[in-house]
């Protein structure tokens, strides 16, 4: 079974909004055994929407649409679908009650546009939106299915998972799609390619390897379609992991912060942070994991030198002699926060994120990272690039990776 995803909204075509819906939908459909063949974004334009529907229905079984269902005048998806399927709108009692409920909860009265949202196509199956006023719709024609959902991500997600997929599940003729993803940090794409060149050359035609670099990380994905190749894929995964084991921190959707959280919990250890150039991003990553308060005590954002001295006990002379971006200072920061919090491990960062503040000796992108624990201290300088946002992310992920490799998994190695 094949699907297409059609996202609707002028904001997508002028680049004001990044379309995160379609990748999330694609993930869910993959899990449900549906292969996505194409993703299309079009504006709020009835003629273009019709044209894409006609075309896509020639080669896919399902079309999943998001966007254009709001109460405001720029939202035309519902009327366009009603025309396309030669249907007409009637008041949908359940949707009306839902709109009234939502406004009652907000202590307000729905206006005419909100009531109009409860008008729904007669022939469609309607999905009442528990998180908003825009209902979803499912049309069928000649054994093809067109689903329309709201564009607000969390409304759409709940509707797809809890209403749409359960309704359609029995129609899905599952094909076997296997994806295995290896998550790495601290190693580049072409370097990996060289290390595993012979493995890659030996892959059979039905197994595909993809390199997926993102800021500070590299994922390797092995995919097999249509064949019951799970064991075969796993064997290749193992071969690859063996070559680059130091840099592999997990599989699938694993994040470094989750992996570290799980290791700290398992070992009953605590962590704290002393951040300068990363400005809170390390702690944000750590605390983005539910339950992180079990192992993360907190930290200091030592953006100014005063705070480095006063809160972390960095020595003023050392600071003057070596500068804030130095081995000496970052180690004192790590030791300082260990002392303040009494945690088992500490991460410290100090660098020049950019775009300004660099010098010949310490150009933009220079970052010192220290990780301290009862097992000692590890510190190292890195030269990242000249982009502030990327430097903050790369430094933060590198710091987490050092904690994992040098302190949390050492027993195993």
């Amino acid at each position: 079974m094949k699907a297409a995803i059609l996202t609707i909204g002028d904001e997508l075509l002028i680049g004001q909004v990044v379309d995160t819906n379609s990748s999330w939908i694609a993930q869910q459909l993959n899990l449900a055994g549906i292969k996505v063949e194409r993703k299309i974004s079009v504006g709020d334009d009835a003629e273009v929407i019709r044209e894409e529907l006609e075309r896509l229905l020639r080669f896919v079984d399902f079309i999943f649409i998001t966007g254009g269902l709001g109460p405001t005048k720029d939202d035309i998806t519902k009327n366009t679908l009603v025309d396309f399927f030669e249907d007409h709108l009637v008041m949908h009692e359940e949707s009306l009650q839902n709109v009234k409920r939502i406004f009652k909860n907000a202590g307000r009265e729905p206006n005419a546009a909100n009531i109009q949202q409860a008008m729904q196509p007669l022939k469609a199956k309607i999905f009442v939106n528990l998180n908003g006023t825009a209902s979803g719709m499912c049309f069928e024609k000649e054994n093809k299915v067109v689903v329309s959902m709201p564009g607000v991500p969390f409304e759409m997600k709940s509707m797809l998972l809890n209403q749409v997929i359960p309704l359609l599940a029995e129609r899905f003729q599952k094909v076997h799609i296997i994806h295995k993803t290896i998550c790495t940090q601290g190693i580049g794409e072409s370097f990996v390619a060289e290390k595993i060149e012979d493995i890659e050359s030996s892959l059979p035609d039905h197994i595909k390897l993809a390199y997926l670099p993102s800021v500070g990380q590299l994922k390797l994905r092995l995919s097999a379609y249509g064949v019951a190749a799970e064991q075969e894929v796993n064997e290749y995964v193992n071969k690859i992991v063996e070559r680059i084991s130091e840099n592999v921190f997990g599989f699938g959707e694993a994040t470094l912060q989750e992996v570290i959280g799980a290791l700290l919990k398992q070992q009953n250890k605590t962590l704290s942070t002393a951040e300068s150039c990363t400005g809170g991003y390390v702690s944000h990553l750590i605390t983005s994991v539910p339950g992180s308060s079990a192992y993360y005590k907190g930290g200091v954002i030592a953006y100014s030198n005063e705070i480095k001295i006063q809160e972390l006990g960095v020595n003023q002379q050392v600071l003057a002699e070596f500068g804030a971006v130095s081995k000496q200072v970052v180690e004192q920061m790590a030791n300082g926060i260990l002392k303040v919090t009494g945690s088992d491990f500490a991460i410290a960062t100090s660098g020049i994120a950019g775009p300004d503040g660099g010098s010949d000796e310490k150009p933009v992108g220079t970052v010192w990272i220290a990780v301290a624990g009862k097992g000692g201290m590890f510190s190292k300088d890195f030269k990242f690039g000249d982009n502030r946002e990327r430097n903050i992310i790369r430094a933060s992920l590198t710091a987490l990776s050092i904690l994992r490799r040098k302190f949390l998994i050492t027993d195993k190695e």
Copy 2:
């Protein structure tokens, strides 16, 4: 002039990667006066790529392609384009020198696959990639242009801005596209719609209003195509801003953290933070702005109660009596960090981000926010939702918004 964007890669169709390239390209093309009509994502499949090229060239003047130019075996874009344009590959000396240069800088030797990347289509104009080994290409046929760029965002961005747009600029017959965006915080979509209902109804046909909600923020965009309507659009913008002025923090691509940074700089004031539930996200937002060290001193991530007491001077009895998520504690946190850092303003947050930790009295999503300054203290509790990630973002943006509205722009009002 009309364009389409074609992004290529299996990872886009299985939802492993969010396509940020196409929205960025769309923005840049808009600025250059080119309207994007459609965005398409397809897999690494030569037949599908050909089919989309043929179709899109029937109704657009330009196609911008990203992805599939890497050295690895899953990258087929170059060969597909060579077939499509009935061209053939020859060694491109400049690209070869570039590949050698990049490997030399990394202290390594290019392998055969890397050398192969320097083979380029004879008829195309080649863009040497200063940030990577994959060159870009520009094909022309019957007055239509097809540009192929690497998929790695920062390589593509540099190539589009510095090489592609300058080459094509003289071909762009600019149409007048005007977008004006109003950025708001702390006010919902339907609430705004009600407040400006009469203004919206009075909009002429050639001016479109779009509501663009994202987590913790709402943007309103007025657009006009094809008419020299700038002044008219500005008048509507002013009318709308007047109705919701309290919540408007900026225009266009403004971020709350930039606006606050500019106000602090202007007023020569400093800021510090004491974060519990937001776990570093407030400080990350603040420090994501270049030059923020001029006004941001730093802060404490007081994730554990110990740190709240020890580093911020929160009273142990008060903590026991009212709990960490309380007016009393969050105000003590704000006062505490003011004292520690000597800054002019302080932001403090304490709440239950979820998914666990809620109670009947204080459900998940309850967040106390305090902002303190020499002008006094403002604190308030909020009930956000049940999603951890969204709660952290909403609380952080709300805190920045309170600082702006209650402390930084009070003189003006």
